[in-house]
């Protein structure tokens, strides 16, 4: 057998977190996902709520500012904290 190429994933602590009780994504809200310039937010299939999918945040805050229920919160990403 030849050597097999593989990819491995690194993990990060998500700087952007969502309050699952407040998030109304299940009612069709996608505001934060729409406004994020980096396009790093998505709906988590497991919960039906918004979540930070990728560690590519500019800590710019449109998601937090525009969320109608105050359900999403941006912390300064760890490397800059």
């Amino acid at each position: 057998m030849a050597f097999q190429p593989r990819s491995i994933a690194q993990y990060s602590e998500a700087a952007v977190t969502v309050d699952l009780d407040k998030c109304i994504a299940h009612k069709g809200c996608t505001v934060c996902i729409d406004v994020c310039p980096m396009d790093i937010l998505d709906i988590d299939p497991a919960t039906g709520k918004a979540y930070m999918k990728r560690d590519e945040c500019w800590y710019c805050l449109p998601c937090q500012k525009d969320c109608p229920t105050g359900a999403i919160q941006v912390a300064i990403p760890y490397l800059l904290r």
Binding site: P5, R6, S7, D34, V35, C36, P37, M38, D39, R54, E56, C57, W58, Y59, C60, L61, P62, K65, D66, V74, A75, I76, P77, L79, L80, R81
Partner: protein
Amino acid sequence: MPNDIKVIESEYDVVVVGGGTAGPMAAIKARERNPGVRVLLIDKAHVKRSGAISMGMDGLNNAVVPGYATPEQYTKEITIANDGIVNQATVYAYAKHSFATIEQLDRWGVKFEKDANGDYAMRKVHHMGTYVLPMPEGHDVKKVLYRQLKRARVEITNRIVATRLLTAADGSVNGVMGFDSRTAEFHVIRAKAVVLACGAAGRLGLPASGYLMGTYENPTNAGDGYAMAYHAGAELANLECYQINPLIKDYNGPACAYVTGPLGGYTANNRGERFIECDYWSGQMMLEFYQELQSGNGPVFLKLDHLAEETIQTIETILHGNERPSRGQFHAGRGTDYRHRMVEMHISEIGFCSGHSASGVYVNERAETTVPGLYSAGDMAAVPHNYMLGAFVYGWFAGVNAAERAAAIDFAPIDAEQVEREKARIFAPLLREHGLPPLQVEYKLRRFVNDYLQPPKVTRKYEIALERFAEIREDLQQLKAADAHELMRCAEVAAILDCAEMAARASLFRTESRWGLYHLRVDHPERNDAEWFCHAHLKKGADGRMSHLKRPVEPYIVPIAEQEKDAYDRLRLNPTTAARAVATA
């Protein structure tokens, strides 16, 4: 070739690429100029919150307001700040249209600071004249623009990453190609005129934090616009005049001396002493900053701890509310209270940006590039120190002139081969079973940019950089994307590589030092006006490689007296004036 890639073809008179600052203005003004013209605005992000001003802005850095400054004075100031290498016609055209643009934005609902008489409350920050107009309630700029886009019935498509322009047989631009960063659909858009407004090349250097997206610029602005213009045959001007900014260390956002300066704040060394007379960003200012860092007097700080409580509260309201509103949280996390502690600053990663310095795609005073049918505006268009208002003004020019061209000509046929070639290039990473992750390739590339290209510029280091960049160009053939989003990061890394190579080659071409730290060449430390008082242009040569040419500086419209020429070289305070400046602050 990926046959299952869905191709979406469309046709518009004018296509504007980039819906940040300049782009929306261009789209609106194109429709106003000629309501019969169909205009499409595309953006990689969502136009509602895209670009440098996504969360608003603290102020206009370069407003030319009657009673405070004339277009002639402004043109003179920018000519001097940019060491004489400017096409004054472009700066002058900006300055003359500056006030009309402010009034337009004001009518649309953008809020500027006014005094008790209802006049604009101008502040002095530049070395010579008064050009700063604060916008303490400037957080709604994007909302205002979006409303006008809807009113003007501009069509908008979000989440499209433009990757290449299409060119007709005569060399003119006749369309745009790109893909949807969510669905991976391929877009081929025919056009009679294209406006590029893709912002700065903000992901060239790597921020000191090591965070890929912790850039000064909005990281959507990866330099795609520069790369597209280059591949379409446009000339790029003075790319060696990098953007390097004095920023808050780690946070990498502006410390905002323009906001705090008029209120008594200033840049200080580790003893809390002022060392530069003027906080307006220029290459010379950055050189003084760099020297202070190197001298043992560093770090450099923004000093506010001497100000009254009331003033500090005003500063906090502005700086923690607009533009980069997570700043307050950053300071809180580190226990930095302006009342007691100075804010540590640092030198940013390098980038291209004409909004802040002078590196951009060449445009004339009609926002035309050297390629017919291609217009450009904003940070990526070479009108020095143009900032936000310059983006609006040149967006306006680009929109009007693109609409006029579109009304006068027919669509040119699309070259199917260009389309196939681009489709193959863009989608290859999606088809690979295994390969290199785009963010890792980007990290390595940008680490080399820091290691080898960050000024002071050393010839040998630049030559090594070119070798490393050539290797990374090979690596691009092994990129792997798992989905459409990663495909966007793959497209971006190719654009960043083009920009990195342009930065290196442009810097090697100009064998002198100029613009303070921006182009400080250790092997050619002197300014050499005899040979280099000229623009240095870069373009794609007939052999497909980067070629260089010198262009004479256009005759001045506003003459500069001999004794004024080096006003920006006298920024460093000597000990006695330093003491006086502190005392009067």
